[in-house]
Amino acid sequence: MHTEANVFVVDDDEAMRSSLKWLIESVGMQVHTYESAQAFLDAYYPGRAGCLLLDVRMPGMSGLELQAYLVRREIRLPVIIITGHGDVSMAVKAMKAGAVDFIEKPFDDEALLGSIRNALQYDEKQRALRAQRADIAARLAELTPREHEVMNMVTDGKSNKEIAAALGVSAKTVEVHRARVMDKMRADSLAELVRLVLIARGGTT
């Protein structure tokens, strides 16, 4: 279990908040409770890992409103919606907006905890991916424009000769550029280079 697993609970009902904290802490997760959406937004700083347990019906900003707000702000915290009554249209709305799960009160503790774990794993994976993508982006930034050109052509599967003909330089020069690209991108092989480029372009591993 990740040590930094934070579970943020937003519910207007005090008993619900404390009882959730009590339940989730029993499996060793860190729980932070907030009595309203506004309180959560005030306390949360972007980048904090974890997942969000959100009551749908609250005075002020409702759960769905908060979810929409987070999406607009690009805060990619996995959201689990909890509701007092099975409202299918509301569930569909929440899931469309990107909620990872939708749980009805009163909870089955296994289901709730399983869902929380899934959400935390998902969050962790997303975070790792985002970190790698940032790293590759930093390496790409070191390349000169000519090296960029050579790299794109290499990853497109062109041979050195073709690249030399296309750019109007000698094969020898292409060889030099290519070696420099491999070096800067810290890629051991052509396959590695291709993978890095794909990640950088937004694909998943």
């Binding site: 009882s19 339940l23 029993s26 499996v27 019906r57 005075p59 007092g84 009554h85 009163p106 503790d109």
Partner: protein
Amino acid sequence: MKTVLVTLLRRMPMPIIAMLVGLLVGLAVWGVLDQVQSAAVEQIFHKELRARLDLRSRESLIRFNQAMTNYAATTRLLANHRRLAQYLEPLFWFPEEAIEPVVYAGFRPFWLPDFFERNAQLTPSHVLLVDSRGQVREIYQSGPEPVPGELLSHTNQWVSSSSEVQTVLGRFGTQPYLVVSDRVEDAGGYLMGSLVVVVPVNAEFLAASEGAVSADRSAVALIDADEQRILASNEPDFLVPGTPLEQFRDDFLITSQSLPDYEGSNWNMLFATFIHHSSVAKMSARVVNFERQQRLIAAAVFVCVFTLLIYLVSARLNKVLKRMSRFSQRALGIAQPGFQRGGNQLLMLEEWIQHFTFLVLRARDEMSRRHEHQLRATEALKAAIMEASLDAIVTLNREGRIIDHNPTAETMLGFDPAAIIGDDFARRFLDPAEHAAFVGMLLESIRTGPGGGRPHARGELWAQRANGARFPVELSIVPIDIDGARVYTLYIHDATKRKRAEREIKGLARFASESPNPILRVTGDARITYANAASEPLMQAWGTTPGAPLPPAWAAEVDAALTSGCNREHEDDQGGQIYHLLFVPIPDLGYVNIYARDTTAVRRAEQESRQHQAELVHVCRLSTLGEVATGMAHELNQPLSAIVNYANGASRRLQSGIGDSHALVDAMGQISSQAQRAGEIIRRLRALVGKQPPIRSAVDINYLVREVCGFVQFETSRLELQIDLDLAAGEIPVDVDLVQIEQVLLNLVRNAIDALAERPLGERILSIRTELYQGDALVSVRDNGPGIPPERMEHLFHPFYTTKESGMGMGLAISQTIVENHGGRIRAQSQPGVGSVFAIQLPVAAVAAEAAADAAETVPAAPPPPAAARGERRPLTETLSSTES
């Protein structure tokens, strides 16, 4: 000159004139006829004569032919005679160049029997026996003349070449001959030779051929057609042979005919008949004279008969004149005959007729003047009758067409008088279904009525006006015969009013009997004289019948009504049936009319209505409850979820052994407190549902308000509104059905909450105020929702009137019913855009009313509060009465 003639005519008696005229006419007739008839007779005579001559000449020719045929027959006889055969049998003629024939001159050979004499025929001049080669072998010669040479030289030409007899007219020199030849054959048909008979055609021959039959001895002759000369004649004295024909044309009528049977000859001869002109002319004159004599006799007879006829006529005229003068004297009182006796009767007749005509004309003028005067008077009378008649009078001709009508007809039937004459009455003004009946009436009208009354017919029909409207009429038809033509006079009486009146009277009479309610009439001693059909059950209930008295209680009532003279009303409840009775006295007759009405159904309906209302209230309550309970069930979810979470969390800690006992105890405390919270919610729910029996009890109105606020707590918190309670300081007890009034309050509060949902968050205000107002408890529920448009205000308390998507629209209607059942009022006021106030006013419980009054005295600041402190709430409440229901 003329006058002299006239005087003469006048003087002369008729027979003389007749005789003179007859003579003159006879002469004229004779003169004219003589001219015309003579010419005609002559013409006919000539035609006849021509035909006779033609006939005679034809007869002559036939006789001539007959003579020749006789010779042919005789010749054949001779040629086939036994003697000739006997003679020729042993004989054989050798063919030689030239032979001299044997001539028997003056005696008859063996082979020639005397057939000619026997047949009274002239003996032929010669008979030749010719052999089969055409050579003449033997000749019999009767006279001195030898055989003509031409015949001998060309025998073959004259011998018959066929088996028939050949008859030819020939001419040798100037003399014509008849040459007849026939073949002589033996028994085996073998040609042995020919027999040729030669007869001269001379005066003797012709005379013999004609003379035997003809009596008038017309002359006949053979003529050479080329030379127009006579060859032979039977009167050789004046018709000398060889004379040209021209010489006889002046004296004779000559008819010449061809001889068709003897054309084989080489001579062109004609057969001519001669008739002397003189004999013809003589006969013609004789005929003309005879005719003339006949005409003369005819003229004479004509004159005689004519004269006699005229004479007889004039004699008759004389008699007639005498009779007429006598008649005129007697009939017209004319003393003078007007003419002189004696003289020409015709002229006298003429004068008399003139005179008579004049007198008759004068008399007629006089009469017509008198008649016209009379007629005018009659016409005026008739016109007056027609004009003044209240009935329509229409005159029809035999075909049923209108020839006259009066003004009433015009208005009754509504037609245009200018275009009505000549229309078919029945078609125009009678209902189509009545045509047959109308024709029947026309037929009936011409039959003489019973007892020899004037013929007429009466009946009732449906007529129709020109605009098509139907109406009943009484119709009377009187036929009138004028100058042999029949017309019908129709008297039409509009029966609409009478029929209507009849119907109305009938309808009025049925009023009482048709009435579905019992109607009775009783006498002063309460005996029933009339009871309609509907009163049967009532009478059964009373145990009485028509003619029997009423029960004593109602008999007294009848008496009371009669003595007071006023209507009296009562209700008769017989357990099953409830009757409302109205006693109406008729003092003039000593009767009382009883009008009863079965009100059982009405009473029952009222009762049922009350029951239904209660049921409806209950249904509405349950509906409201359902809605409230749903909210509460949600709320119940909260503590239950919390309990589950605490319990699960605790059990996990205990399993993994990480929980310290302090924390676990704390969680258990949480569980119990959450369970209590759930219990509280359930308690509230039970408080709402559980109070079933509608029992009135004195209760503080403030308590009710607080309870209702508890029911809606979940909804109010969801909408983030706080109910602003402004309750009276002291208790305001009301004697109400707790549940029902709670429902009313709940309705009002929920309506207010619904109205506030449209307001933005934080601006929602819902306040409930209780107070004592004019000795009543007043609860007003106020919201600052969008308000109710004025046009909806009037429907507000109507059942099924709703503006919500869900809901029956029964809430306010039921509330109103409940409040009114409690003797209270419910009122509403609203200002669009500002908000609405609903207020219920209930009477204060009687036991507590005094205390409340005391409380009001002891706390004078409570009602009424200062206007400034209460804001705009006060005027709203005060004007509530404007919309109170």
